[in-house]
């Protein structure tokens, strides 16, 4: 369990007042149906969040019927899923395995490609050589020692990620993280996926409904009925059905039908910290069938934001996230088009979609018997593809915390809220770090991003500490962090931050081992880049032959 602050003795979070309900008197647990078993789960919304939650819960709790768990997902046919959440973290492999789908089917049906990390271009000083990597594989020797202080000593010529992680070389050559003979979900380098979110939801739906016994309802919700004790009793649909449940999971996206509209949980805007509030998105076809597929998400900084560039098997997804305070929609579109033109990708056939971004998260995600997952819980700019991993973590937490009876729900809610509040705060810190470390002074967006009032205290204090201490596991208090110490290292040292570690805390033994680890990294990089196929080659083979399960 994550470390929790001092237990407040007997005061649950007072559920906010929804339409026409009595709040529970303070100091009392929401009483009423304490013995009522928690067996019926209703998920509202059929996008990525809805189906990942359905898949995780249904596979964790496979008993159905009279003495099992009933899981129903309701979605309205009219609401198209957002479809921009296209990057994932390596946790996705365990999640897909848990749900029970095959990697072969997933790759084939979701146009997915292998993601091995992110590349950041022009974030530091916008010079021609300004680029650094954030790979998924941990730095060499990570289990045994912190390499960073020794790397800093050595007046390195190559970048941090290139020196301590062989995966950087694979990424720069658009190589795959595995062979056709590597079993499903295994790899020679740590990897996740780029996927077509528009195909991912239907793919999971097919599996959840066909193999896991999830019930699927197409209908609109016209009313949310409270139970008078701080929870939801049932939903009323347009066709007049009543959907009763013991737990309601709000995956309705930005609409937030339950957590927002019904429960009225306030939304904490992060617009003053992370300025991004808009995006232009476009799909770019490949020139031909042989065009290489990139191994990482490329994030290229612009005048007032950054452009994402993601390579799927069928097409690329490109978009410019920016701040409307610094750039008009028109000017932003021009910049995006200039980015495309520079790569020979601009054509009159392209259609650009404008997407508003409401950056922030709910004060609490779990209120009474309603918990929000996905966009309804919050959204931050996709700089480190945190949206889908938060969905996975939420699904896993709900599955782990699910109480047998209603009386236990308030505790589950409290633990969940503490954990996810912490996680949202850490994601905000981590994303802001990318901006604070930039030295760009060529625009108000960049200058303003370093104003003290826009920097969370937690980040400022952490950076103060890191001026003399390289980030390490101990710095982070939770058992399961969204971003490891290694990720912070990749960003800090990739952007030229210079921790001056106390020399008396370093020793020759570790120094020698560090030197060996660096040579070993270089050796591995050479060996693996000779052995591994290109992404395009491997994905084509997988399409044809599939991957073996073992």
């Amino acid at each position: 369990m994550p470390d929790r602050p001092e237990q407040r003795p007997d005061e649950p979070a007072a559920p906010p007042v929804g339409a026409g309900e009595q709040p529970a008197p303070p100091g009392e647990q929401p009483v009423g149906r304490g013995d009522q078993p928690v067996r019926r789960i209703v998920i509202v919304g059929g996008g990525t969040a809805g189906w990942i939650v359905a898949g995780v819960l249904a596979s964790r709790y496979p008993r159905r019927g009279e003495d099992g768990v009933a899981i129903t997902l309701i979605e309205s046919r009219q609401q198209p899923p957002i479809g921009v959440g296209e990057g994932t973290w390596p946790t996705i492999r365990a999640t897909l395995k848990q749900i029970g789908v095959s990697e072969t089917d997933f790759l084939r049906e979701c146009d997915a490609s292998f993601k091995q990390g992110s590349q950041f271009v022009k974030w530091v000083d916008a010079s021609d050589s300004d680029t650094y990597w954030h790979p998924f594989t941990l730095p060499a020797d990570y289990a045994d020692r912190n390499l960073a202080p020794y790397w800093l000593e050595g007046l390195p010529q190559a970048g941090f990620a290139a020196s301590v992680c062989f995966q950087t070389e694979l990424c720069s050559q658009a190589l795959a993280p595995k062979l056709i003979t590597t079993p499903e979900f295994a790899g020679l380098a740590n990897y996740a996926y780029h996927l077509d979110a528009g195909k991912f939801a239907p793919f999971l739906q097919k599996h959840c409904v066909g193999k896991l016994g999830v019930s699927h309802v197409y209908d609109e919700i016209v009313q949310v009925q409270s139970d008078g004790h701080g929870g939801i009793a049932h939903l009323v649909t347009k066709s007049g059905d009543l959907l009763a449940a013991d737990l309601f999971i709000d995956c309705s996206g930005f609409a937030a039908l339950l957590i927002g509209k019904h429960c009225g949980v306030p939304f904490r805007s992060m617009k003053d910290v992370l300025f991004i509030d808009k995006a232009w998105a476009v799909q770019i076809p490949y020139r031909d069938d042989a065009a290489p597929i990139a191994s990482a998400t490329v994030s290229t900084a612009q005048s007032s934001g950054w452009v994402w560039d993601i390579g799927l098997t069928s097409r690329r997804g490109v978009g410019y996230v920016f701040s409307s305070n610094y750039l008009s929609d028109d000017r932003a579109l021009e910049e995006l088009q200039a980015y495309l033109a520079a790569r020979g990708d601009l054509s009159s056939e392209l259609s650009f979609r404008n997407i508003p971004i409401n950056s922030g998260y709910r004060q609490e995600s779990w209120v009474g018997n309603c918990v929000a997952v996905g966009l309804s819980a919050g959204f931050l700019e996709p700089l480190e593809a945190s949206a889908i991993v938060m969905i996975e973590l939420s699904a896993k937490s709900i599955a782990n915390l699910l109480p047998g009876c209603r009386s236990g729900m308030w505790q589950a809610a409290r633990i969940f809220n503490d954990t996810f509040r912490y996680r949202w705060e850490r994601i905000v810190d981590f994303l802001k770090l990318h901006y604070v470390l930039s030295r760009r002074t060529d625009g108000r967006f960049w200058i303003d991003n370093r104003r003290i009032e826009s920097i969370p205290d937690s980040l400022r204090e952490a950076m103060d500490y890191w001026r003399h201490h390289c980030p390490w596991h101990e710095d982070f208090s939770h058992r399961e962090e969204v971003f490891s110490a290694a990720s912070y290292q990749y960003i800090l040292y990739g952007m030229g931050f210079q921790t001056s570690a106390a020399p008396w805390l370093l020793n020759d033994d570790d120094r020698n081992r560090a030197r060996e680890a660096l040579s070993e990294t270089a050796r591995r990089a050479t060996a693996l880049s000779a052995a591994l196929p290109g992404n395009r080659d491997l994905l084509t083979r997988i399409r044809r032959y599939g991957l073996q399960k073992i």
Partner: protein, 187 residues
């Protein structure tokens, strides 16, 4: 108090660190640079020479630590004349900006607010690298507003955002000058 890592890059010219300093076996002749007094004054106001010096020293420092050059070479470089850098940049700016734009830029960089911007940039460099005391680095509202205005102007865009003056020719010219300087210092 702690020993700091010794490499520091220059301000907006840290691109220079990515130059491959050519092996210095011969002194390359410097191509003469056309006169451009207004551009030269601007380049001086932008404190370009200081940035070049920092970048050059950092690079030579690294060579000294790795045993390629002696300390004497570094000492020599520290006191060398870097006028060639000013001249090179002046020529590039004169070619890239109209006289109007040069005037506009000069007005900014020679003003108190413009100097404040330069100070802010230099301080921001240190701050972003974790090398300053951790206090916040901010511009005053006046400096900020003047900077915003300049960034919105064509001169500002050309010089600070698009960096139109940093052509391949400029880089080559700079590299030649640095090679010559290093060559002399190694005598």
């Amino acid at each position: 108090m702690f020993i700091r890592p010794k490499w520091i890059g220059g301000a907006c010219l840290s691109a220079l660190l990515s130059f491959v300093f050519p092996s210095v076996n011969e002194v390359c002749a410097q191509t003469p640079v056309p006169e451009a007094p207004a551009a030269k004054a601007l380049v001086q106001a932008m404190q370009v020479q200081e940035s070049v010096r920092i970048a050059l020293e950092a690079s030579v420092q690294r060579d000294v630590q790795q045993g390629r050059f002696t300390q004497k070479v570094l000492d020599c470089v520290k006191t060398s004349n870097l006028d060639f850098a000013t001249d090179t940049y002046a020529a590039a700016v004169a070619a890239a900006l109209s006289p109007q734009e040069i005037k506009q830029a000069m007005a900014f960089f020679s003003s108190a607010e413009g100097r404040g911007y330069l100070k802010y940039s230099a301080a921001q460099e240190l701050q972003a690298r974790g090398l300053s005391g951790g206090e916040s680095v901010e511009m005053s509202p006046k400096e900020y507003s003047a900077t915003s205005k300049f960034l919105d102007s064509t001169a500002g865009k050309k010089l600070l955002q698009d960096r139109v003056h940093e052509t391949a020719e400029l880089k080559a010219s700079l590299a030649r000058g640095m090679a010559a300087l290093l060559g002399q210092c190694r005598r």
